[in-house]
């Protein structure tokens, strides 16, 4: 499968690493304890685990939206720490702004304007297939389209690292499958690193090159899975026996993680 897996070659050097990271909130809840994990440059990493296991907290720590109570996060590529795109569980669009201006927001905040910004926006909208909807307002779009806008907004800065916090959890299955395919396509094409938080075994196996499974709170890494499958995965992978077998393996591991508590 060498020609079909351009992404594997870029998955070696570490991009960032958590060293004994703990996060305790002021209300006394310990979300994470002694978390150690490495994010490899170029990989599609899923953080899989039950609700409230701290995987979203890990993502927020990575984005610099909150800081660890103990331990530290080491960046091999400091510039990646500043070039981050974030996609939330909800589309989180500004309802008062058109699709175009929502996508423009990160550029405006970074002080980029004019022709260069317009080109970036055109490109990002084309990537998610929403070029024709640039003048629409969020309320005029379906849930899946709103999520596409949210992804375009995250991609418009051409981030090295894309963080996604259960982005498709509230979508219907048809939209979710399509967005899964499109996200795989984008990852193959853009070559960025993606860290994807999800509680769906099926989604994580389909999307990822690697899965880290979290224990219930306080979250630690319980298991790790490499998903090796022919690229591109669109189409056949979801119905292949390998996919089914991997899902069974990951599900069993998840069940035993949950059963320990």
């Amino acid at each position: 499968m060498p020609a079909a897996a351009p992404s594997l070659s870029r998955q070696n050097s570490p991009l960032a690493a958590f060293h004994d990271v703990g996060k305790r909130f002021p209300n006394g809840v310990t979300a994470l304890e002694d978390l150690n994990l490495t994010i490899r440059a170029g990989e599609f990493l899923s953080l899989l685990g039950p609700s409230g296991c701290g995987k979203s907290t890990a993502l927020r720590l990575l984005a610099g939206l909150t800081s660890p109570s103990s331990g530290n996060i080491e960046w091999n590529d400091r510039s990646a720490a500043r070039e981050i795109g974030f996609v939330f569980q909800e589309p989180t669009l500004m309802p008062w702004a058109s699709v175009e201006n929502n996508v423009r927001l990160p550029l405006r905040l970074k002080g980029m304007s004019g022709r260069a910004a317009d080109l970036r926006i055109d490109e990002a909208l084309a990537l998610v297939g929403l070029s024709e909807f640039r003048n629409a307002y969020p309320r005029e779009l379906s849930g899946g389209m709103r999520m596409r806008v949210s992804i375009a907004r995250a991609l418009v800065t051409q981030p090295k690292l894309l963080l996604m916090d259960e982005p498709f959890a509230s979508l219907d299955e048809i939209s979710r499958f399509r967005l899964n395919d499109d996200l795989r396509m984008l990852w193959n094409r853009l070559g960025c690193t993606i860290v994807f938080v999800t509680h769906s075994v099926f989604e994580s196996v389909y999307l990822s090159s690697r899965i880290l499974m979290f224990t219930p709170r306080p979250g630690k890494i319980a298991a790790e899975f490499e998903i090796v499958a022919p690229e591109p995965r669109e189409g056949n992978f979801r119905t292949s026996p390998e996919y089914g077998a991997k899902c069974r393996e990951v599900s069993a591991a998840l069940a035993s993680v949950m059963g320990e508590r």
Binding site: F86, F88, T92, M94, W96, A97, L105, L109, Y137, R139
Partner: protein, 266 residues
């Protein structure tokens, strides 16, 4: 309105209230003639209308005075309310220090403040200040609520892209606050008129006002009941006009994006 309302029911939506209003006025007219009520007890609608036409120069002038006071009060209250709201929303210290004063101004009945203001201010200014005080609070409290009710994820996104507090204010807080602000403005519009009228009545004794409320007081001294009714009618119409105007403004500003302007069939 109901989804897919048939044309008849949409027509009824406009016609029924008009019919009810016409019926009430007709009943009033009948009662006055049937019981031969003298005009200083209850003038007939016809007489009120005649008075409105006969005294039109005087009443139009008074209407203009009241409207000017109301509009000026609303503008001042809006500017002051929004500026103070931005200050309160951006600093806990300012909120704790200043908000109690706003609440005290709000809960103290205006009619009790007016005579005190009349000691220190000349009547026209006192009337304006009274109208400002009542119109100010809904703008302030709604705008503060709006400025602080921002989507947490959007706020995180602004942090992620290194937005400073000015950019966050301009591009996140103020647009988020807009629907709340406009809601406050709608309330403030009605209150500004009420404030102006109440203060004019309080100041009326000083004899220098010439607004509609002053006309009512003056006419009552002269037992000119039809003119009282005519002035009252104009105050009501002014209130309806202000309400309608602010509704249109709200619709125009929010129609593209806010849920409140969605029609049932969209």
């Amino acid at each position: 309105m109901e989804k897919n309302a048939p044309a008849e029911s949409r027509l009824a939506y406009f016609i029924l209230p008009l019919l009810a209003l016409a019926a009430a006025i007709g009943l009033w007219q009948l009662a006055v003639s049937a019981f031969a009520l003298p005009h200083y007890v209850l003038p007939s609608p016809k007489l009120v209308l005649d008075t409105l036409i006969a005294d039109r120069a005087l009443l139009a002038n008074s209407l203009l005075v009241t409207l000017k006071t109301t509009a000026l009060a609303l503008i001042i209250a809006t500017i002051a309310g929004v500026l103070l709201a931005i200050l309160l929303a951006s600093s806990r210290f300012a909120e704790y220090t200043l908000f109690p004063f706003a609440v005290i101004l709000q809960v103290t009945p205006l009619i009790a403040i007016a005579p005190i203001l009349l000691i220190y201010l000349e009547p026209n200014t006192a009337v304006l200040v009274c109208a400002c005080i009542v119109a100010f609070f809904p703008v302030l409290s709604n705008t503060v609520l709006g400025l602080t009710s921002i989507d947490r994820n959007l706020s995180d996104l602004f942090t992620l892209y290194g937005a400073n507090s000015l950019k966050t204010l301009l591009w996140l807080r103020i647009p988020s606050a807009l629907p709340y602000f406009l809601g406050g403005l709608r309330i403030a519009g009605g209150l500004a008129l009420i404030g102006a009228v109440a203060a004019e009545i309080a100041a009326g004794v000083a004899g220098r006002g010439s607004g509609l409320a002053y006309r009512i007081v003056e006419s009552s001294y002269r037992l000119n009941v039809p003119r009282m009714f005519a002035a009252l009618l104009l105050i009501s119409l002014a209130g309806i006009a202000i309400f309608a105007l602010l509704n249109v403004l709200q619709y125009l500003v929010l129609r593209r994006w806010h849920e409140s302007t969605l029609r049932a069939d969209q």
